[in-house]
């Protein structure tokens, strides 16, 4: 039995626990998640808020970042017991291949080391000292950035460690933090809070990691009504339900489900480079079985290179096959298997009407590549290592068709020459894509990434300004005034 969450000031015996059971093959893991009463919610919210006001506010951003860095260092250390626990239990909970989890964790955690945290801050604040004290402003006067006293994160999904992104962003703006664990991966965020508690108990007193069953209206209302700012992840239906319960005076920052895709220019399709591009593309598809918003679902491939789009689809299929033996796909639920199967069936059926289409896949259904010559736009695949390759004369031809999906576009993995890259970037940004990266890097955003084009830290703060007039008027009240 593994206990999830982090409840400063509440004794475990005073709390009701509910068991979530995870199975992988013959192994099972029971995770106890806390079910709090309304009174406990009120108590915890007040405690976190008070602690944040008295402790976090008194620390400098640099001090907070240093503590986070130490916690992250422990999670990167393969001899550390926390790291070992993460490597052991996360594959069990999420179903992902253990080696993929191990590599993924390291790559991801590296983006939160000390120097990287400075990038997070610098991305949003030209003068990071504005988080610690009033700083002179170019327009005159002074300003200071205040984070929310109580920031509520409603996390979702099963990609290991994902909650860390917003959790750390909140801490960097000195927000008292309450995070709701995702039921599909209810461990990592609580562990992180507990590591912080070992390093700096007072800082960990400004964080509560809680749980409630998705859609539990009473618990949701109790928490939503107490937060200054709410960051929420999930599908649009879930987000809409949350938004309806957020008081109008509370800032609400939703992160909905997204769709991402890749683009391969003919300049990347000569005999020497195409193989590498396909390998990187396959890695982006296989990593976390396409569960991430940054995971590609379609690749647009340009005609006219040495390697044709159809051949590229073959390369991609080959690489997915190879990755399948190295990092096997996690076992699918019947619903997920049904999605994959119905996508494959639909692709196959289309092939009867259009012989230029092809479906490449292994008989066991563990991956599949659909190829089409037709001017198909972006389309979601069946997820879990299924992807479509669409041949286009020019990559730019694919862009107008993306416009209807503006609200849902996110990452574009691009293999193209510099001039093409910048030309495409303009067009893609105009239709709503927010992140362009190299193939092979789609699932690993760099530190300080503007998630869905927004500001990780800046969106959380409010500025308090001392206008020039106040400063000048104050002069007239000074003891030294003439």
């Amino acid at each position: 039995m593994e206990r999830a969450g982090h409840l400063p000031g509440l004794s475990a015996d005073a709390v009701d626990w509910r068991t979530l059971t995870f199975r992988r093959g013959a192994e099972t893991l029971d995770v106890a998640v806390p079910v709090l009463s309304e009174a406990q919610i009120a108590e915890l919210a007040t405690r976190v808020r008070t602690n944040a006001r008295t402790y976090l506010r008194s620390r400098t951003v640099a001090e907070i970042a240093a503590t986070i860095d130490r916690a992250v260092a422990r999670l990167l250390d393969r001899d550390d017991p926390w790291r070992q626990k993460a490597e052991r239990l996360l594959p069990l909970v999420t179903g992902y291949d253990a080696e993929m989890v191990r590599l993924g964790l390291t790559g991801y955690l590296k983006t939160f080391r000390g120097p990287e945290l400075r990038k997070f801050i610098a991305e949003d604040f030209a003068n990071p000292a504005v988080l610690d004290d009033f700083q002179p402003m170019p327009k005159g006067g002074f300003a200071r950035a205040f984070g929310p006293e109580l920031l509520l994160h409603v996390w979702a999904g099963n990609v290991p460690g994902l909650p860390l992104w917003s959790l750390i962003s909140g801490l960097l703006v000195k927000a008292g933090t309450v995070g709701k664990l995702p039921s599909a991966e209810p461990l990592f965020a609580g562990w992180f809070a507990q590591i912080l508690a070992e390093i700096d108990p007072e800082l960990a007193g400004c964080i509560a990691i809680v749980w409630w069953k998705g859609g539990d209206e009473a618990a949701e209302r109790a928490w939503l009504g107490r937060a200054d700012t709410v960051v929420a992840y999930g599908g649009n239906d879930a987000l809409e339900a949350i938004r309806a319960r957020v008081p109008i005076t509370t800032r609400f920052l939703p992160y909905g489900h997204k769709i991402s895709f890749g683009m391969v220019a003919r300049s990347a399709l000569d005999a020497g480079k195409a193989g590498a591009a396909a390998r990187q593309a396959a890695y982006d598809v296989a990593r976390y079985d396409q569960q991430g918003c940054y995971s590609p679902q379609t690749f647009f491939v340009e005609r006219g290179g040495r390697v044709s789009p159809r051949e590229f689809a073959g390369y991609l299929a080959h690489e997915l096959g190879a990755l399948g033996s190295k990092f096997p796909r996690r076992p699918l639920s019947m619903g997920e298997a049904g999605s994959v199967a119905s996508w494959r069936n639909a692709e196959e059926t289309k092939g009867f009407a259009d012989p230029s289409r092809a479906l490449l896949g292994d008989p066991a259904g563990s991956w599949a590549v659909a190829y089409t010559d037709a001017a198909d736009g972006l389309s979601p695949c069946g997820l879990n290592r299924t992807v479509t390759v669409v041949a286009v004369d020019r990559l730019a031809d694919a862009v107008p068709g993306l416009a209807p999906y503006r609200a849902f576009l996110q990452t574009v993995g691009i293999a193209a020459a510099p001039e093409e890259l910048f030309a495409l970037a303009g067009a893609l940004g105009a239709v709503g894509a927010t992140r362009l990266c190299a193939l092979g890097r789609m699932t690993a955003p760099e530190a300080g990434w503007h998630h869905d084009g927004r500001f990780n830290l800046l969106d959380l703060v409010t500025m308090t300004e001392i206008e020039g007039s106040a400063e000048r008027a104050a002069e007239s009240f000074a003891p030294y005034t003439d």
Binding site: A156, G157, N158, V159, A184, Y233, G234, G235, N236, Y255, H257, K258, I259, S260, Y288, D289, Q290, Q291, G292, C293, S295, Q297, L332, S333, M334, G335, E336, A337, G338, S339, V340, A341, S342, W343, N345, A346, E348, T349, K350, F352, A353, P363, A364, G365, S366, S379, P380, C381, G382, L383, P404, Y405, R406, A407, F408
Partner: protein, 364 residues
């Protein structure tokens, strides 16, 4: 074999009252041969899977067409323009509707009536009811000429309903007053009553009755048939809650609250023997057989494991007899249990899934 001969054979097969593995197999191979020869898209589909007249030796080898294919392909042995009856799916997700063409309804109707009599008209106090007074919570066949359910219910009424049976759904919506009148009358006369319709309409009626604080104690032998689930037309209700409320609202014991499971892509329906416990066990007559498979490999799953349902309906002779559904199920003693849709609604990530995408695309 000509179509007329096949129809004759099928009617005889249904009339036979039972079929062992060998008899089912023989009929299934004849139907497959007919479909393979007369339906070019189905032939392509089968050939691609290396299933031909030569390689298919048992009904289990007959390749099952995914129901999504009914949207993209014209699966009809007879040219569609020669088929006076076309049933269409409600096409809720993609806007494209799957079609089943019927050159004749002789087999469909026989399949329905033989099975309906056995599964819905049994009198718990002995014998069968010849006719029951019916209330139908669905539009008429005239209002929905392409709805297989509208046809099914019209047939139920004409073959098994008394002359006083009537519809409570029209263009004007749900006739709550009419329903209350009919239900009250049944209470007064003590004559068993049958309420049949779409599950979501039943929810609407229950809500309307609750609003007026009405409930009924229908006479012994009364029964309810619901079908089709909620399809976003009413709020979703768990089966357990649905049947306990149904029983409480109408005074019909749960063992006489029968759920019918049918599809536009079939010509035969499945029924349970009431819903005293949920999920109930569904079964069909001897001319339809079901398998539970892993949708990715097409292999049958071990008995008792969850998989996706494949139905082999010999009565669906003009289209494709073997269909791969998107319904999750498990084989149990006496039939199978339905466990909802296998459509990835339980996806765990933040990657956009097909359903959401289509919804978004329609909205924009």
């Amino acid at each position: 074999m000509t179509e007329a001969r096949l129809v004759e054979d099928l009617l005889a097969f249904i009339a036979a009252g039972e079929a062992d593995e060998e008899a089912f197999n023989r009929m299934a191979l004849a139907v497959f041969a007919h479909q393979f020869e007369t339906n070019a898209p189905y032939r392509r589909f089968a050939t691609q899977r290396a299933r031909t007249l030569r390689t298919v030796k048992s009904w289990r080898d007959v390749p099952a067409v995914p129901i999504s294919a009914f949207k993209d392909l014209t699966l009809s042995g007879r040219p569609p323009e020669e088929c006076p009856y076309v049933f269409m799916t409600s096409g809720t997700t993609k806007g494209v509707r799957g079609k089943s063409h019927h050159p004749t309804l002789a087999v469909y109707d026989r399949s329905m009536t033989v099975n309906f009599r056995r599964r819905f008209m049994a009198n718990p106090y002995g014998g069968d009811f010849e006719r029951l007074r019916m209330g139908i919570l669905f539009p008429t066949e005239q209002a929905m000429p392409n709805s297989s359910l509208a046809h099914y219910l019209a047939l139920a009424r004409s073959e098994f309903g008394t002359a006083e049976s009537r519809y409570f759904v029209s263009d004007a919506g749900l006739d709550v007053d009419g329903a209350i009148e009919a239900l009250s009358r049944a209470e007064e006369t003590g004559e068993p009553y049958a309420l049949l319709g779409a599950s979501f309409s039943v929810v609407h009626l229950m809500d309307a009755l609750a609003e007026r604080g009405r409930s009924f104690a229908l006479p012994a032998g009364s029964r309810i048939l619901d079908t089709g689930g909620f399809k976003g037309q009413s709020r979703e209700m768990a089966a357990e809650e649905f049947y306990s409320r149904l029983s409480a609202t109408f005074g019909v014991p749960r063992r006489l609250c029968i759920n019918m499971y049918g599809m536009t892509e079939l010509s035969t329906q499945f029924y349970d023997d009431g819903n005293e416990t949920c999920p109930s066990v569904k079964s069909g007559p001897h001319w339809i057989r079901s398998r539970v498979i892993n949708p990715l490999t097409g292999q049958e799953v071990p008995r008792g494991s969850v998989g996706v349902l494949v139905h082999h309906d010999l009565a669906h002779f003009n289209c494709a007899s073997a269909i791969l559904t998107e319904d999750a199920g498990v084989e149990v003693e006496g039939g199978f249990q339905l466990l909802g849709r296998a459509d990835g609604a339980d996806a765990k990530g933040c990657s956009m899934a097909v359903e959401d995408f289509l919804k978004a695309a329609r909205a924009s």
